[in-house]
């Protein structure tokens, strides 16, 4: 065993040395967001009555599906409200971070070939995984402590020191869980893209399934490990046993990862890659066909994600109806309803989430040539008689097709869920309209990432920061009552909340125009700048 783990500590030092900047930014974001939002909470609600009304609103199935079940509604103090509305968000963010921490030092390095050099040194077979696990645990402890003390410093009404620490520890446990699952997937697949894809898929899947479980299917809710952590009921009951259960799950996953790592060969996965075709299909022998072939897995995967997301949210609509019948009183308490049914209000929120998720794939697709450039793979293409913008125009077309497919799938999924659960379903074209309403904002994002990538490959990453910002502002911003300027600087903030509001023609035209401008500049720059590879 000692030989298997030999040199773990030096490897941990290297991992920290390589990754410290990224890790510190991540820690800052995860801790900072949680603490900042907690600090803003007292600004939102003043009276106990307001909080009680909030508790009832939070028991709305749509809210339960998105934010988790309400604990301690009888005594819904400020801290309980914060825990209820924020802890799931912190957990998912931390789990995602865990995937980034682990995949980089395991399958990423192995696929790149860096691990081959390391393994030829006096280093144990399990040392890289052990060092990565240690790094994960250290980061998790740091996040738990910083979040705990940060929340304690804010001390919301009703918050105890123990409660604040529990919030931090629950977040840290989610980080370990995300990282542990990624460590397992890193043993299964030979390439890092699919390791990350599987990890995020499982996290998103857990999030959606736990929503359905918590709303209408208790057994399902208990089958989701991520949901166990939610049962710590931070600031309310502060149970310790769900933490134990969650950590036990993570330990079991990690043990299987270590076991598989010890028995498999370097640069191999347990899922073997199939043998491919010996020659290219006729269709792939022109730039458009070639790019479609490159991007086909991405197109299919994101279409499925949109469909699943649509169905998951659509399935909640039936419960909204029953909920409304039993508690008609709360309609008056919920803001922004003004004569509209709760379903329509919910539809407006859900379509925004679907649209933001559905634009991720197309943004990656339109950025494909820039990605290829970063990996030194454009030279063999551009050394032939192909103009640079020939490729750019085609990825743009594919991304637009991607947007259309994703919105269509999201809309169909949503409608399927609505029809199968509601007695008086919302009309098909109302749903489709509400979804496609976002296509202009999505097109704007496509233009934006194209512009950044065309200016310089390194800066296209900021388009993702911008997208994350948009999501944050619109998703949490509504809870925080942020000033309107925050919503103003994201295209998604200008989209009408259909079906509550009517289609915003002017905003859509402006977004379309700006997107076209950005694309024009992008093409001009991309044609004239130096390629890095």
């Amino acid at each position: 065993m000692r030989a298997l783990m030999w040199s773990t500590l030096p490897l941990l030092k290297i991992a920290w040395r390589r990754d410290r900047v990224r890790l510190l930014i991540w820690i800052g974001v995860v801790v900072g967001l949680t603490v900042a939002i907690a600090a803003a909470f007292p600004e939102l609600y003043y009276s106990a009555e307001e909080l009680d009304a909030m508790a009832i609103a939070m028991e709305n199935p749509a809210m339960v599906a998105m934010l988790g079940p309400v604990f301690g509604a009888a005594n819904y103090h400020m801290a309980a409200a914060m825990g209820n509305q924020m802890v799931l968000f912190s957990m998912v963010l931390a789990a995602v971070m865990g995937v980034f921490v682990v995949s980089k030092h395991t399958r990423h390095d192995e696929e790149e070939g860096i691990l081959e050099m390391i393994r030829a040194l006096p280093v144990g077979r399990l040392s890289t995984l052990a060092a990565t696990t240690l790094l994960l645990i250290i980061v998790s402890v740091v996040i738990a402590l910083l979040t705990g003390f940060g929340l304690h410093a804010i001390s919301l009404d009703g918050a105890t020191f123990f409660g604040s620490m529990m919030y931090g520890i629950t977040t840290g446990a989610a980080l370990i869980m995300g990282g542990a699952m990624c460590a397992l997937f890193a043993q299964l697949s030979e390439n890092n893209r699919s390791v990350m894809g599987m990890s995020f898929g499982v996290i998103i899947g857990m999030y959606l399934l736990r929503g359905i479980g918590d709303v209408s299917f208790e057994v399902l809710a208990w089958m989701i490990p991520l949901n166990w952590l939610l049962r710590t009921e931070v600031y309310v009951s502060n149970y310790l046993w769900p933490l134990g259960l969650g950590l036990l799950f993570s330990v079991l996953v990690l043990v299987s990862a270590f076991y598989l790592n010890a028995t498999r060969d370097l640069e191999r996965g347990l899922l073997q890659a199939r043998a491919g075709k010996a020659s290219a299909h006729k269709f792939a022998k022109n730039p458009f066909g070639f790019l479609v072939k490159l991007l086909r897995p991405s197109l299919i995967a994101w279409a499925l994600v949109s469909l699943t997301l649509g169905i998951s949210y659509g399935a909640v609509f039936g419960d909204l109806e029953t909920f409304m019948e039993s508690l008609s009183a709360i309609i008056d308490m919920m803001p922004n309803l003004e004569g509209f049914a709760i379903e329509e209000n919910f539809l407006a929120v859900v379509t925004m989430i679907i649209a933001i998720t559905a634009v991720i794939g197309p943004m990656m697709q339109v950025n494909r040539m820039i990605d290829e450039e970063k990996k030194n793979r454009t030279e063999p293409i551009y050394a032939r008689a192909i103009q640079r913008n020939t490729m750019q125009v085609r990825v743009l077309i594919i991304a637009c097709i991607g947007i259309t497919i994703n919105l269509l799938m999201g809309g169909l999924g949503l409608y399927a869920g609505i029809v199968s659960t509601m007695n008086e379903p919302i009309g098909f074209f109302v749903v489709l309209g509400a979804v496609f309403n976002y296509s202009f904002a999505m097109f704007f994002m496509i233009g934006f990432i194209m512009l950044l990538g065309s200016l310089h490959p390194r800066i296209s990453i900021y388009a993702w920061v911008y997208l994350a910002y948009s999501f944050m502002v619109l998703y949490i911003g509504s809870l925080l009552n942020l000033p309107t300027i925050f919503g103003f600087i994201t295209p998604f903030g200008h989209v009408a909340q259909m079906p509550i509001e009517s289609f915003n023609v002017l905003a859509s035209i402006i977004m379309l125009f700006m997107a076209l401008m950005m694309i024009a500049i992008a093409m001009n720059r991309y044609r004239h700048r130096d390629l890095i590879g």
């Binding site: 390589r18 070939g113 081959e116 030829a120 006096p122 280093v123």
Partner: protein
């Protein structure tokens, strides 16, 4: 003493036979060359020796220890340079050299400095901006700076320019003088020919030829070219003669070197004007195997 000893070593990827019953023995102080066409199993063999792949059958021993079970203690005494060196993009070359050598527990900063100067590497640059050749230099410097007893080099010069290639060869010869062992996989046959005492040729997962380079040459026909005043008759009667091409008084033929004496006796009376004998180059040995049954 055998530094590397492989017996019936086999590795299969599903149905693909990467390595099949390979026997190999590298003695202390050997510079051992290892050649073969693409996909012959060379990388697999090296990774089995490094214990980063596990053999399906047979055994590989390095320093008389099992390559898989005792990988850590073996690795303390070896240095490895992969064919395609990949480094951490956000660290400098100098940092990487220090980190790699630190694992072997020696502080060789003086040696490192000398090597950086001879190989003309800028150690302050981030690895992401290094070319393939420069990454190769980083790995080579880290290897030469260590006090290893065995050097496993996987196409170490594939990205280097001819000048650096020569420097590399000088360093290998210096290692030989220190009685260190080198296991060298190379595509550059000229390099193997100048450096190595012993050679193995691998093809489709099997070692098809193995031994000292001069013995291998004896196995193959020497090419002989003769010009004489009178035509020479009955050449085919001399044992082992083949591929006779005759045009008047000019003859070209292949003969095993063991029978060259018989040939000389036979032609003595024909007033030989010129006699050229060319021992087979490694390239010819290699190409013969490469082209066989194709």
């Amino acid at each position: 003493m055998a530094i590397i000893e492989a017996k019936q070593l086999s590795k299969y990827y599903g149905k693909v036979r990467a390595l099949h019953k390979v026997d190999l023995s590298v003695e202390a102080g050997d510079i051992y060359g290892f050649i073969g066409p693409n996909g012959a199993g060379k990388t697999t063999l090296i990774r089995l020796l490094l214990g980063i792949l596990r053999a399906d059958a047979g055994a590989a021993h390095v320093f008389n220890q099992d390559a898989w079970h005792h990988a850590v203690s073996i690795h303390k005494r070896i240095a490895y340079v992969p064919g395609d060196v990949k480094l951490w993009p956000n660290m400098t070359g100098g940092e990487v050299i220090d980190i790699l050598t630190s694992f072997n527990g020696h502080d060789n900063s003086k040696k490192k400095q000398e090597l950086i100067e001879t190989f003309d590497l800028d150690p302050t640059k981030k690895c992401r901006s290094y070319s393939k050749g420069n990454r190769q230099k980083v790995a080579l410097i880290a290897a030469f700076a260590s006090d290893a007893e065995l050097f496993i080099l996987d196409e170490p010069t594939s990205g280097l320019d001819p000048l650096m290639e020569r420097l590399f060869q000088e360093h290998i010869q210096a290692l030989k003088a220190e009685n260190k062992t080198v296991f060298l996989r190379s595509h550059i046959l000229r390099e193997v020919e100048t450096l190595c005492d012993k050679v193995s040729i691998i093809r489709q997962g099997e070692i098809i030829e193995s031994g000292a380079l001069k013995d291998l040459r004896h196995l193959r026909a020497t090419e002989v070219e003769i010009e004489s005043k009178h035509p020479i008759a009955d050449l085919e009667k001399i044992p082992s003669v083949s591929n006779v091409e005759k045009s008047g008084c000019h003859v070209r033929l292949h003969i095993d070197s063991a029978h060259i004496g018989a040939l000389i006796k036979h032609i003595a009376s024909s007033e030989v004007l010129s006699f050229h004998s060319t021992p087979p180059t490694l390239e010819q040995l290699f190409m013969r195997h490469y082209e066989r049954d194709e």
